[in-house]
């Protein structure tokens, strides 16, 4: 009560002075209200909504407390919509007091006003707060100040005083403003809510639209990508199909090609087999032809042998009288040799060859015939060795004997002789033996190695080769022997003995000088001795015989006065060759053959240097020497080489002989 007195205005001061009844009236009023509220509580608790109510109350109170704590001053209300001084009736004293009312957004605040002069400033924290969204507004006609009084009451009203209050204004205009404004605020707030809702919806729509657009864009991109992918996919599919088709085609083509290749391979193989068979047939054909050639050449050969007997030999032998005889028996045998014997040998051979070819087959052999039946061909040797004599005798007879020449001309005109003269017929046995080897070699070439005849032909060729080589060697020996015998007949030996053996061979002969001033002499080099002869009148006198076993040769260019002066190098070469040849003259010195060949090589190397001279010396013993002079340096070199080679060969023969003696002694 004191508090109320202190804070009241002039108006309230005048009323207070009047009496304490007024105070008591106010007190009762407040008691009624509190009682009504309590009654309401009990009624509601009876309806079993007590718990809910309490919870709501607590929540509301807490919220308002928080708001009050935040708003400590009027300065914090920054954006008020409406404010002014209004009259508010107090609850307990029932007095109309001035209060400062402020509306901000949806909340109504009222403050205390300063005492003082006409200042309208609010003071301190708000005395009361109303949430206008939960309030209702009603006109009240019972009060003094009506009709300018209205009541603000929250929908969830409580017993507290600040939840229900009466407000009055000084003027009707102000009253209208406030009374109309408060519901408008509510409406605006409701509209705001609606707007908010709409805005939210719009925003939601926008978001949806954005999402939709994004989705659309993404869909477009996806679609575009899909299209690209579709294009690529189609292309890939197309390519795949093409590749597939190509692969199929390639497989097909490969198969076809493989078939063709296989067919070609088959054709080639068959062709190869045909070629193989053809080669075999050709080889057999060639073999048969060569065998037939062997037969035909043997036939013609035997025919010619018989022809000579019929045309030449028998007419010459079978002349009736001695006067008409053209040639003697010795002359006939001298010219024709053992012709009849050759005819018999080859006619027998022809019969054998004919039998082979009459029974010809693939497995027929010919080589065995030549292995077994050709030993008789050795009898060609006397004919071949006699041929040279025969040729000379024929030449002599045709030149000397007129009847024989006429006989030959008449014989040559015979049709059977094919216009060949007798010398052509006489040469045929000499040609026949090498021809056998030629034919058999060709036959061997046409015979396969698996054939039975291949071995026989190889042996047959060896046999024929032996026979022909034997005949060849006999001919060589005969020629050498006749040569030596002819020389021996011409020589005359008075004081010196000269003996020739069957192994003597003439190597070289020529004119020499023993000294510069003397006349030319003649010298023979045999394989074992050296003979110097002198010619007087019609005879050849043997002057000196030198055995080669004890001989040495030396070439001294410096001692010769006719030699051209040479460099010292050539002298060294000649000196070395001299030393080597001196060594070769002694019997017991080792490595003779190699030193001899070295000597020959060094002397051959010396040739292109220049002219050496036309003289060299024969060393017969340690005391005696003979100088030999020649016509030209080339001739001297040739004689030197021949003598050196002969000496070398004698040394090798002697070595071999000594070795054989040693082997015999050991055995």
């Amino acid at each position: 009560m004191i508090f109320l007195f202190k804070t009241s205005n002039k108006y309230f001061y005048l009323l207070g002075v009047g009496g304490s009844c007024f105070l008591g009236f106010v007190f009762l009023y407040f008691l009624k209200k509190s009682y009504n509220n309590k009654n309401n509580k009990f009624i509601e608790s009876d309806n079993n909504n007590k718990n809910n109510f309490e919870k709501e109350e607590k929540e509301m109170s807490q919220q308002l407390i928080e708001i009050r704590k935040k708003i400590n001053d009027y300065s914090k209300l920054k954006y008020p919509t409406k404010q002014g001084i209004l009259f508010k009736k107090s609850r307990y004293l029932k007095e109309w007091r001035n209060r400062f009312f402020v509306i901000e957004e949806d909340i109504l605040y009222y403050f205390d006003i300063e005492k003082g002069n006409n200042s309208n400033k609010p003071i301190g924290t708000p005395l009361g707060i109303f949430n206008l969204l939960n309030c209702s507004f009603t006109l009240i006609t019972n009060e003094k100040r009506s009709p300018l009084v209205f009541k603000i009451q929250e929908e969830n009203g409580t017993n507290k005083d600040y939840k229900n209050c009466l407000i009055s204004c000084e003027s009707a205009e102000e009253f209208n403003q406030w009374f109309q404004l408060l519901p408008q605020i509510k409406q605006t707030m409701d509209r705001k809510k609606d707007l908010v809702i709409k805005l939210q919806a719009l925003s939601r729509k926008k978001l949806q639209q954005k999402k939709y657009q994004q989705l659309k864009e993404s869909a477009l991109t996806i679609q575009r990508f899909y299209h690209l992918y579709e294009g690529e996919r189609k292309l890939a599919r197309f390519i795949f199909n093409v590749i597939k088709v190509q692969s199929y085609a390639r497989c097909f083509i490969d198969r076809m090609r493989y078939k063709k290749i296989k067919e070609e391979i088959m054709v080639i193989q068959s062709h190869f087999q045909v070629i193989k068979a053809k080669n075999r047939l050709e080889k057999e054909f060639m073999r048969r032809r060569i065998a037939q050639e062997l037969l035909s050449t043997e036939k013609s050969y035997v025919y010619n042998l018989k022809l000579i007997i019929d045309i030449f030999i028998r007419p010459l032998i079978n002349f009736n009288s001695i006067e008409q005889r053209v040639l003697s028996v010795s002359e006939i045998s001298g010219v024709f040799g053992n012709w009849e014997r050759l005819y018999k040998i080859n006619s027998d051979l022809l019969v054998l060859i004919q039998c082979k070819l009459d029974n010809w087959s693939i497995d027929q052999t010919i080589g065995d015939l030549f292995i077994e039946n050709t030993d008789s061909l050795f009898e060609y040797t006397p004919y071949v060795t006699n041929y040279d004599h025969s040729r000379k005798l024929l030449a002599k007879l045709t030149s000397g004997n007129t009847n024989f020449r006429n006989f030959l001309d008449a014989a040559q005109r015979d049709k059977r002789s094919k216009y060949l003269d007798i010398s052509s017929f006489l040469i045929q046995p000499i040609q026949r033996l090498p021809r056998y080897e030629l034919l058999l070699r060709d036959l061997l070439k046409s015979t396969s190695t698996l054939h039975k005849d291949h071995k026989y032909l190889s042996k047959g060729i060896v046999k024929i080769k032996e026979i022909t080589m034997y005949v060849n060697d006999q001919q060589k020996e005969r020629e050498n022997l006749s040569q030596v015998i002819q020389i021996q007949k011409e020589l005359i030996m008075d004081n010196i003995k000269l003996s020739f053996s069957s192994a003597t061979r003439l190597i070289r002969e020529g004119e020499i000088k023993v000294s510069k001033k003397k006349t030319w002499n003649y010298m023979y080099l045999f394989n074992s001795q050296l003979v110097i002869i002198q010619k007087k009148d019609d005879k050849k006198l043997v002057k000196e015989v030198i055995q080669l076993e004890q001989l040495g040769i030396r070439d001294d260019n410096s001692s010769s006065s006719n030699t051209i002066t040479n460099d010292s190098g050539t002298d060294l070469l000649n000196n070395s060759s001299n030393n080597l040849l001196l060594l070769s003259s002694t019997i017991s010195s080792p490595d003779l053959s190699s030193s001899g060949t070295n000597a020959i090589n060094t002397s051959s190397q010396a040739l292109p240097i220049g002219t050496i001279g036309n003289k060299f010396k024969l060393i017969i013993s340690s005391k005696t020497e003979i100088s030999l002079y020649f016509d030209t340096p080339e001739e001297k070199n040739n004689w030197f080489a021949d003598i050196a080679i002969t000496l070398n060969r004698l040394e090798t023969q002697k070595k071999n002989f000594e070795k054989s003696i040693n082997l015999q002694t050991i055995n």
């Binding site: 032809r289 071949v384 216009y419 045929q428 000499i430 090498p434 060709d442 040739n638």
Partner: protein, 298 residues
């Protein structure tokens, strides 16, 4: 040989209606085509495959330079390894066809050996000869091993004609045989001239025999020496003999003609003069070795 030469000379003199007989031999190493060449000349076909009835001797009458010739051709096939048997061929013939294969180097190198062998057997400085390089159709196939200049050089060295032939394509076959005939005729004419010179020398010697003075003898010896020196430059060298008496010289010449062996060795001496020093020495060693080899076999 001299008798044959005389016969041929007489035939050469009487060339009106007579047929001149000539013997020739086809020589060469193995498988150079001797038989194919001979058959091509004789029968005008090439032996492609193996052909039967190959003869040893072939006779063909032909007309060369307005003269009638009877050619007797001897084919020496198959006897390359038998030198003594081959010598029988060489003695019997007037001219030689030396054949080598242009695709075989060895056959060309053996040609020199073969020519030396012929000189030894015939005992003459030179003889009628034609060098033939066969199988020249292989040149187009790129198988040539012996060039044309080598063949030409060798033929100039021996002083004989040279042909490159092909028995397959009949190139130079007939002309090579005909050229050999011409060579033989030229050789016989040369021999005839040679005999005339010998007769002249005999007449001179008879005149010189009348003078028996020592000075004249010395002069005669010197003149003989100068004659021998003059004859060195000629192709066929006259064999010289220095004796005290001219009568001995005549006898010595006759003896030389009768002896074949002596003439062989002298022909070697003369051959060495004609050749260069290198070749002569090497060939001489080679021939000596071959002689020794022959000796050892015997």
């Amino acid at each position: 040989m001299s008798s044959f030469t005389k016969n041929k000379l007489s035939n050469f003199a009487n060339t009106n209606n007579q047929i001149i007989k000539i013997d020739m031999v086809v020589l060469g190493s193995g498988a150079v085509g001797k038989t194919a060449l001979t058959v091509q000349f004789h029968q005008q076909y090439f032996i492609h495959e193996y052909d039967p009835t190959i003869e040893d001797s072939y006779t063909k009458n032909c007309r060369i330079d307005n003269d009638n010739y009877s050619l007797n051709i001897l084919d020496s096939a198959g006897n390359e390894d038998y030198t003594a048997i081959r010598d029988q061929y060489l003695k019997n013939s007037d001219g030689f066809l030396i054949v080598y294969d242009i695709s075989d180097r060895v056959s060309f190198e053996k040609t020199s050996e073969l020519v030396d062998q012929i000189k030894m057997v015939k005992d003459v400085e030179s003889f009628p000869m034609v060098l033939i390089g066969n199988k020249c159709d292989l040149d187009s196939e790129g198988q040539r091993k012996v060039s044309l200049t080598e063949g030409n050089d060798l033929s100039k060295f021996y002083g004989c004609p040279f042909f490159e032939t092909s028995a397959k394509t009949t190139l130079n076959v007939e002309s090579s045989f005909f050229q050999l005939v011409r060579e033989i005729q030229r050789f016989e004419q040369f021999e005839k001239e040679k005999q005339l010179e010998r007769e002249k020398k005999k007449l001179k010697n008879l005149n010189n025999n009348n003078n028996n003075n020592n000075n004249n003898n010395n002069n005669n010896n010197n003149s003989n020496r100068t004659n021998s020196f003059n004859s060195i430059g000629r192709k066929n060298k006259v064999k010289f003999d220095l004796n005290n008496n001219n009568n001995n010289k005549d006898d010595y010449n006759e003896n030389n003609n009768n002896k074949g062996g002596n003439d062989k060795k002298k022909s070697e001496i003369n051959n060495s003069k004609a050749c260069g020093p290198k070749k002569s020495f090497k060939q001489k060693i080679f021939t000596s070795f071959s002689c020794i080899h022959g000796g050892t076999n015997s």
